[in-house]
């Protein structure tokens, strides 16, 4: 009889190993299981939207409560809403991120600011809508319209931009700053010439993600002047800029909200068409953010 190899795994070790393999297989299955419904849903929306999609659909007017025609008005509304929101929130958010990462001393006040940022991020979107109604419309007397809605969205997206800016800034190594200070540069000069250029990509990613977030939100704008239907000039410059700052407006997210309820005689492809366009828009913007991040990682010099 040959003696058993002392290095061969014992039964106990084998069972441990098989349990580990089972765990790996199980968690992998769950992860894939998560992706299947997403893929199915996206594929289904694209498939059912297909008959509606055309250039005429994108550039046509909303007709018969969205049952016919196109989505030009809501598209323009979402575009200007996002643009305005970005113009308001990007400077404030980036500067706030700079303050927290570069200026703020490590004290109670700074910790309070961080708590405020996370609390602001946790406020439900419908409460933001109430705040917008109370603060901008009732108290400040603004019209329910594009500007008031964009301001509400800005309050909501502020923590997103602060957090991503802060992350981008803190990834710039400390000795970059120290080298610059040693050359006699002031704090702001260091930030402007060294820190910001080296964290630009990260900040940009955050800004792009805010665009995606603002374009998809419905609750904060539904009481702030987003309406079902407005007449839009058939041609001329007003077709490209149909809404004034204080005017009511249409938006993709609100449009989808209104037509996805049971409206008799609503063709299915019109609903799926707007869902597809909104989704494609947002995933496209997210894709750009991912590309920026990827390029950045490749170009990183430290």
């Amino acid at each position: 009889m040959t003696e058993a190899n002392p290095f061969s795994p014992s039964a106990h070790e084998l069972s441990k190993e098989s349990r580990a393999r089972l765990a790996q297989f199980g968690t992998l299955t769950v992860s894939i299981f998560l992706l299947i419904p997403v893929a199915l849903i996206l594929g289904m929306i694209a498939y059912k939207a297909w008959p509606a999609l055309s250039w005429a659909y994108l550039t046509g007017d909303v007709t018969r409560s969205g049952a016919a025609g196109g989505i030009w008005g809501p598209l323009m509304g979402t575009f200007y809403l996002t643009l305005l929101c970005l113009a308001i929130v990007a400077p404030i958010g980036v500067l706030a991120g700079i303050y927290i990462n570069e200026y703020a001393p490590d004290n109670q006040l700074t910790r309070t600011i961080m708590v405020a940022v996370t609390s602001l991020a946790g406020v439900p979107s419908i409460v933001h809508a109430l705040f917008g109604l109370g603060a901008f419309v009732a108290a400040m007397g603004m019209h329910k319209g594009l500007l008031a809605a964009a301001m509400t969205l800005s309050v909501m997206t502020l923590p997103v931009i602060i957090t991503s800016t802060r992350e981008a800034l803190s990834s710039v190594p400390k000795n970059f700053r120290e080298a610059c200070w040693n050359l006699g540069a002031s704090r702001w000069q260091t930030i402007r010439t060294i820190v910001l250029p080296n964290s630009f990509g990260g900040i940009l990613t955050g800004v792009i993600l805010v665009i995606a977030r603002a374009a998809g939100e419905t609750a904060p704008i539904m009481f702030m002047g987003a309406v079902m239907w407005l007449r839009i000039a058939p041609s001329g410059p007003e077709r490209l800029a149909p809404y004034g700052l204080n005017d009511e407006f249409m938006a993709m997210s609100n449009h989808l909200n209104l037509i996805s309820k049971d409206i008799p005689g609503m063709p299915e492809q019109m609903k799926f068409g707007s869902a597809f366009v909104l989704l494609a828009l947002i995933l496209f913007i997210n894709g750009i953010a991912s590309l920026v991040r990827l390029r950045l990682r490749r170009r990183k010099r430290w």
């Binding site: 400077p91 439900p124 933001h128 108290a139 997210s253 909200n257």
Partner: protein
């Protein structure tokens, strides 16, 4: 030197003043989030305030104890939110039953088992999942999940508690995955190395070492998922059927605090008791979500300190 000292001095002075102005702006922006949080609390409270002394809180038609929500009536309006409150927590609970196991398992796979390639792919997929806006989830609930539930779960209405739970669960998964993965990754590598040196295999490392070490971070991830599920509005409005009743079965239509505000605020006249009642609900939501988020963040911060100390 071509520059005279006085000119150079003036230049430095100007720069110093410039710097002061810029720093002032930066500081103001930095403090803006504190200001906004206080403002949100104050404004929501202010527009709820006229009704607060008049509300019967725990009586027969009480705010917390009855399901009679007749806020629109001019005479004898009652403000019972019990059904919505129960609905809100019920739908969040169903969502968490779905999202927590899935999210934690996916986080463990991504952080401990997956190779670098698979990791990238799963992260992209999770990001796509996170990017789908809540109104599109609501649309998916109505048009796709609803018919499936009618066909296979015996529901009479496609929009119900289960539908809302499924949609909310799928929505909270990305948040839970990314937070749980962060806290698993925050466990120092020498914990893993020590366990490996003692002969533990990968799975034993996960459940004997990483789970206990990252326990508070994982708990915080789940809590933030709950907070997200409770605050979610549009998806729930479309998915749950918007019916003011306490759900007794998974297939019962129901409503939530958030959905009620979203459904009724459009018709409520500014300054009317109806609008004040909706602001009161908003105040309650604000308190609930803030409490959950603050607790979760305290847990995360305590955990960071513990890891830094070890």
């Amino acid at each position: 030197m071509s520059r005279t000292p006085s000119r150079s001095n003036r230049r430095t002075n100007l720069l110093a003043i410039n710097e002061k102005i810029i720093e002032f702006f930066i500081r103001a922006c930095g403090w803006s989030s504190i200001f906004l949080v206080i403002a949100i609390f104050c404004f929501v409270f202010w527009y709820a305030a006229p009704l607060l002394p008049k509300i019967d809180w725990f009586g027969h038609d009480g705010f917390f104890t009855s399901t009679n929500w007749h806020a629109k009536e001019r005479e004898g309006a009652t403000y019972g939110i019990l059904a919505m409150l129960v609905g809100n927590f019920a739908v969040a609970a169903v969502a968490m039953v779905i999202a927590i196991p899935l999210g934690l398992a996916a986080a463990v796979y991504i952080s401990e088992f997956a190779g670098p390639r698979a990791k990238e792919w799963f992260k992209v997929a999770i990001e796509i999942l996170a990017a789908i806006p809540s109104i599109v989830w609501g649309f998916i609930a109505i048009t796709m999940i609803g018919p499936i539930l009618i066909k296979y779960a015996g529901a009479t209405m496609g929009t119900n508690l289960l539908n809302g739970g499924i949609v909310l669960g799928l929505m909270s998964v990305p948040l839970i995955v990314s937070l749980a993965e962060d806290s698993l990754r925050a466990v120092p590598d020498n914990y893993r190395e020590a366990a490996m040196a003692l002969g533990a295999n990968r799975w034993e490392i996960v459940y004997r070492v990483l789970f206990p070490a990252a326990r508070s971070g994982l708990l915080a991830a789940c809590m933030l998922g709950v907070g997200r599920a409770i605050g979610e509005t549009m998806a729930v409005l479309l998915a749950t059927g918007n019916k003011n009743q306490i759900p007794h079965a998974l297939t019962d239509p129901m409503t939530t605090l958030t959905a009620t505000i979203a459904a009724e605020m459009g018709d409520a006249e500014a300054g009317s008791p109806h609008s004040q009642a909706l602001f009161t609900i908003g105040l309650l939501l604000l308190v609930i979500t803030c409490a959950i988020n603050l607790t979760a963040n305290l847990i995360i911060r305590g955990n960071k300190r513990k890891i830094a100390a070890s």
